[in-house]
Symmetry: C2
Subunit: 287 residues, 2 copies
Amino acid sequence: MIVEGVHFLAADPPEDVAWKLVAVNLSDLAAKGARPLGVLLGYPLHEDEEWNARFLAGLGEVLHGYSVPLLGGDTVSGPAGATRMLGLTALGEAGGCVPSRSGAASGDILWVSGTIGDAGAGLRIAIGELEGPDALLARYRRPEPRLELGQALAPLAGAMMDVSDGLLIDAARIGQASALGLEVELREVPLSEPLRQILGDGSRTRIDAAIAGDDYELLFAASPAHSGDIEAVGRRLGVPVTAIGRFEDGGGLTLTENGVPLPLPPRLGYEHGSKAVQPVESLPPLP
Amino acid sequence: MIVEGVHFLAADPPEDVAWKLVAVNLSDLAAKGARPLGVLLGYPLHEDEEWNARFLAGLGEVLHGYSVPLLGGDTVSGPAGATRMLGLTALGEAGGCVPSRSGAASGDILWVSGTIGDAGAGLRIAIGELEGPDALLARYRRPEPRLELGQALAPLAGAMMDVSDGLLIDAARIGQASALGLEVELREVPLSEPLRQILGDGSRTRIDAAIAGDDYELLFAASPAHSGDIEAVGRRLGVPVTAIGRFEDGGGLTLTENGVPLPLPPRLGYEHGSKAVQPVESLPPLP
């Protein structure tokens, strides 16, 4: 589900909103090493017919781009002037290996694909807070799910997820789910050339990147024995993969810069405002 | 997807909103003769934590009631004070027979399960327009998907759907999808005893019931050769099934009362306000 003002801006082009709605869901499949089978759309129709039509055009574009069919869904009457909320369910099929968040082992390396912080800078460009190239804006508006990479990494990764709420908060979630401590080296967090050109390479830039979120890169834990295979997968698919940390016995997240521990930033990424809807033991068990 | 002010009222108990969200989706599975496997929830968290907690309690109740697991989904931050929109995707498994809307044949009988118009009266009770028993209010707030009935009817029905937008508009949709004409006899539309007690049994009551919607009964077309089997299924499951019309060559909907054609009401049920999001041939094909 994506919400205007939270996951996209009212001024974002409707085509890009459609792209993002599909891409962020495909990214969840990528993190499970799954191949997409199709999507189901929940769409509140608006009084703004041009918005509807442009959204539909963008939907066609992204679904064609990833060869994913629209299987069905629901259109409803949206109340006039209401905040836009769009729902999408992506269905996929995974092979034998489906990494969870809880499968990291002590001694595993923490890896991340691509570059981090570009979408965060892109959001600042979108709201006029920053000037920068279209490449960064595109990372915010048109994220690219790492589907092929996820399928190739699934057999090698003990734990995997996509970075949506922020690199640090998502890394801490893997550590917590795996009941392990985790050290992340800020200098290893991969930044893109366009990002460094406009924001430099200082600690502030790196911390901002690591908590910004919306990256939709893959974050995964793997045994050091797989490092060669992981780097080979990255080379084959043309996607950088970077070792940025290590899991260890204990608990908690430690952030270092050149090996020296840093105080953790006051927030590690985007956190939902409520804990009311969490997995509940009283619900019926999974099949 | 259900929307406050469209599919439920702001004053509806949150437990009932959760019930309805699940039930209307299970009803779609029922109309395909499918067995539910699980649901995925898209939930915008609200600043009103009590509402969240009561919604969750109702969710547990309905999922337990139908033995359906919550497989996953997404919680997002809902903007403060925004109209509530809730998304749910139900996954199910169908046997060999999956009735569509387009499979009615000339000469087929149109059947409907249960009684029609109770939820429409329940809505009028909920908004204070009518006084009436809790049984009718419950039909509006806690519809019961006809899962067992749908599975039993699927092999017998050429076409099937659930009545959500209104009996007449949904019947007309089967006729149109099947490229057939359809005659519906108003006097055969099954009304409940509580409904007739407060609204009588006149033409106005019957027409209102037939266009009110929210019934979540099954509406289906079947060859007259299956009539005995269909009635036996209804008896076995304790759900009335009533023949209310007949498909024929030609096109359009004819409404009769005691065999005499009536002018069609100005609207046949609930219609979405836009045609912008319709199946689009430019989207990738189904697998």
